[in-house]
Amino acid sequence: MSTFSAIGEEREIDRDEYTPGVEPQPTWCPGCGDFSVLKALKQALPEVGRSPEETLLCTGIGCSGKLNSYLDTYGFHTIHGRSLPVARAAKLANPDLEVIAAGGDGDGYGIGGNHFIHTARENHDMTYIVFNNEIFGLTKGQTSPTSPKGHKSKTQPHGSAKEPLKPLSLSLNAGASYVARTAAVNPNQAKEILIEAIEHDGFAHVDFLTQCPTWNKDARQYVPYIDVNDSDDYDFDKTDRVEAAEMMRTTEEALYEGEVLTGRFYVDEDRLSYGQEKRQIGEMPEEPLAERYWDDDYDWERSYDQFVDKHE
């Protein structure tokens, strides 16, 4: 028996394996878009053949962060904004794990924005799902980085004076090698995009539009949506950075005019993931580091043999 025998095991995986046997403390409101992310993930994971015990789901804090309570895998519900650094280190420690990070728009684009930029830039081989409801859900409806200009809330009583952040463009510029947007109302597309994102070897960022009927009253249900990859109205090459940037810009502006554009915006299959880059320069071992601690034959190096002579 190997140390991590859940990893790479060949077997049928049932969707129900991800459902906790005990009903979690209910936290999501009826009609919340977060349920759609859960559903799409439950469909995508068995399809890519990743079982609950070879998957590590790292979440932030927010309604979105409660995903761990609904999806049964190895989980790490971290702190507000910090799912990415925890997740990417776990991936470096054990590249055989399927690592998924998830959190809200406040979590990922606001307080954790620096981590988002740098994780994208480094192109870690992982999936990052942002539940973008354009609002702070858990803390009761304050304006978030993606709330539209003029958005009124208790903390922005005169309407937000700020332009919303453009997550897709930011992601592309920072260096993500897969950038997509999907919406809660679009289950098939959501599932397909999540499958692609998980299978993508690099940083795959999925901006998932999730309606918050509780706090975002004027919020749309993100319908009707248009899949830009299928629509005759849009023609762009998602492997071309310049065309992708243009399409993202259009999409980000359209959202605030009531038009929901979704799809894959940028896909770069050629770029090496961070782990591959690090291995190439000799700064990361070929074998998962996490396995070494279980290898009885490993001859652990000592500073006495390795380093102290230069101090003589």
Binding site: H77, A90, A93, N94
Partner: protein, 631 residues
């Protein structure tokens, strides 16, 4: 002993190669059989700014910087030139010769580079030299170096002159240069060294010089090491193979040493976007089953407060190092202080648990780095190694055999998949990672990827499977269990030898200190004892869980205690009183917070003024006395 020692100060500008020259010279002295200890002073700049390193060398063990110095090699600050004369640098150029000149002992030697320095800029230089019987040697070090190689090699000329004056053979210096220098620059350097040596011997009457190199002998091979080296090697020997960090002086040293060594060991180092990320990465790597660390200095450590709490709550093993420098805020980046003690003890919200160790010497830095990892992994708790710019940067000789130990890569209480199968699970297969009743409070953990081990780690309060729970009973059970670990750790630490005592057991008075001031205090105790004062000292390392019993016994055994620390507010004294709940009337404080560590004489004088004379006024020094309550 003070007569039998060489305290050689090399001074120049930042960027003049003072650090590497002094390191090599210290090694040469060590190889010649002496014990050495270095003290460095440098500004927070890359180019320019007065910097010096002192090497104290003696046949007897040396665990502290000395009082003053007896040999000055003033190289001159080659970067202190300003095109707009006097605009910025002012008198900076002369500083290597003028600064702290008063601390040069009577009969001391001055070698200065007459190519760069003009003593007529120093008020009454000649009179002072005569009064103090200083032997002054103006040498054109720069000219000599320029003629034979490059100007920058004037350090070598200075070392050659030093050897000639103190009667030191060039052999060890030459050997070291051969080890350290690339071929291209080796030959001119050797030539410069020998020429300077010969020139001084020919042109001057060196016999008249009172300062000479002591002779000594080592029974075993010695290593010249810094606290930062020792901490890094301790981590490596405990199987740490992952580090994440963001540069900040003085923690950068450990980060750099680890980063340079880890690839060779198949480990991983990550320089990341900020310290929040750095600590969070260490948490993530540790959670995934790798021994991991991070660290920073004051401001960066402040950013780690939240991930630190996350590690505590999720019981993820984590080692952080905190290299203190003078605060608040950016403070004095290159100056030592111990004033992050309370910050490190108490930062992060809630009744959070952690271990804090403050090693006192280079040897202890290695040992306690290992203990920090062992405790973190065995008890699944964050452990912080608290040290400062002084311990991190000073070099000291340590017997090589000190490091000849077995590695300990064990992850602590983890389970194999077979063992996991035997453990309690929920009906849906979730492993009870956070069971309520377990010995020592430590519940065994699984690692992601293991079959039968899935659980949720969360910063929210949680039930045995890790799921969020706000049930009062569960809350109390979990907090009590996590707290219980500290008791077990205290008992565990009692089996380690982390405290350091000096002076006679039955002494009348005591000096209490922590961390890097230990060696200085112990030297002061030695001198006081020689002068017939009945005093002993205790250097404490276990900050949390505190070494309560030991400290209590120490205080009980004496009439009065002076607490010595590099803080302005007496944080360590406060910690003692917090843990012991009394002794306010028995403890007084000697504080120093001017950016320089204590010198032994300051502790001696401070003790005499405070305890013997009772008024506490040692006004010659930049130390502060705070009397005991009621005094």
């Amino acid at each position: 002993m003070t007569d039998e020692e060489l305290i050689w100060r090399i001074s120049g500008g930042s960027g003049d190669g003072i650090a590497s020259t002094s390191q090599n010279f210290a090694k040469a002295l060590m190889r010649s059989g002496l014990n050495v200890f270095t003290h460095r002073h440098y500004p927070s700049r890359i180019r320019g700014g007065h910097t010096y390193t002192e090497i104290r060398a003696a046949a007897d063990p040396v665990d502290s910087r000395g009082d003053g110095y007896n040999f000055l090699l003033a190289l001159g600050d080659s970067f202190a030139r300003n095109p707009q004369e006097g605009a910025v640098y002012g008198n900076e150029e002369i500083k290597p010769l003028s600064e702290n000149l008063d601390e040069l002992r009577e009969g001391g030697v001055i070698v200065y580079d007459e190519g760069l320095l003009d003593p007529s800029e120093i008020p009454n230089f000649d009179e002072r030299a005569e009064e103090n019987d200083w032997h002054v040697f103006p040498l054109d070090l720069r000219g000599l170096a320029r003629d034979m190689g490059r100007e920058v090699m004037r350090n070598t000329a200075g070392v050659g002159a030093t050897c000639a004056l103190i009667g030191m053979d060039l052999e060890h210096v030459e050997d070291l240069m051969r080890d350290a220098m690339p071929e291209k620059i080796l030959d001119p350097n050797l030539e410069i060294l020998e020429t300077a040596y010969d020139q001084v011997r020919e042109e001057y009457d060196v016999d008249g010089v009172d300062v000479s190199v002591p002779t000594g002998e080592h029974e075993e091979t010695q290593l010249l090491m810094s606290g930062s080296d020792a901490i890094s090697y301790g981590a490596i020997d405990e199987g740490c193979r992952f580090i994440a960090g963001y540069p900040m002086t003085p923690w950068t040293e450990v980060f750099t040493i680890m980063t340079q060594n880890l690839p060779e060991l198949g480990g991983i180092s990550e320089q990341v976007e900020d310290e929040i990320a750095a600590a969070a990465l260490a948490v993530g790597a540790s959670h995934a089953g790798v021994k991991a660390m991070s660290g920073s200095s004051g401001g960066g450590f402040a950013l780690m407060s939240e991930p630190l709490g996350l590690a505590e709550m999720t019981e993820t093993p984590l080692v952080l190092v905190e290299a203190m420098r003078a605060g608040p805020s950016t403070g004095m980046p290159t100056k030592p202080e111990q004033s992050d003690l309370e910050h490190v003890l108490y930062t992060s919200q809630g009744d959070s648990q952690r271990v804090v160790l403050a090693p006192g010497t280079v040897e202890e830095a290695y040992e306690q780095s290992r203990i920090a990892f062992r405790l973190a992994y065995e008890y699944q708790i964050p452990t912080i190694l608290l040290y400062d710019q002084k311990l991190g940067g000073e070099l000291k000789n340590v017997p090589k055999s000190h490091f000849d130990r077995e590695p300990n890569p064990t992850l602590g209480k983890t389970l194999t998949e077979e063992e996991l199968a035997e453990q309690p699970h929920s009906a849906d297969g979730k492993f009870h990672r956070f069971q309520h009743d377990v010995e020592d409070g430590v519940t065994p953990r699984s690692i992601p990827g293991q079959k039968g081990g899935r659980f949720l780690a969360t910063g929210n309060e949680h039930d045995p499977t890790g799921h969020i729970s706000e049930s009062p009973d569960n809350r109390v059970a979990q907090i009590d269990r996590r707290t219980q670990k500290l008791e077990a750790i205290r008992a565990d630490l009692d089996t380690e030898d982390t405290s350091s005592y000096a002076g006679p057991d039955d002494a009348e008075y005591g000096i209490l200190t922590f961390g890097s001031q230990q060696g200085t205090v112990e030297e002061a105790v030695g001198r006081l004892n020689e002068a017939g004062v009945s005093v002993k000292s205790l250097g404490v390392s276990d900050m949390l869980p505190f070494a309560t019993e030991e400290v209590e016994a120490f205080i009980e055994s004496v009439d009065e205690v002076l607490v010595v620390e590099m803080t302005a507010s007496g944080q360590f004294r406060g910690l003692v009183q917090k843990n012991l709940g009394r002794y306010g009337e028995k403890l007084s404080s000697l504080l120093k917070y001017n950016g320089n560590p204590f010198e032994p004489a300051e502790v001696v004088d401070g003790f005499e003024a405070a305890i013997i004379e009772g008024d506490g006024d040692a006004s010659d020094h930049q130390t502060t006395f705070v009397p005991a309550a009621g005094d």
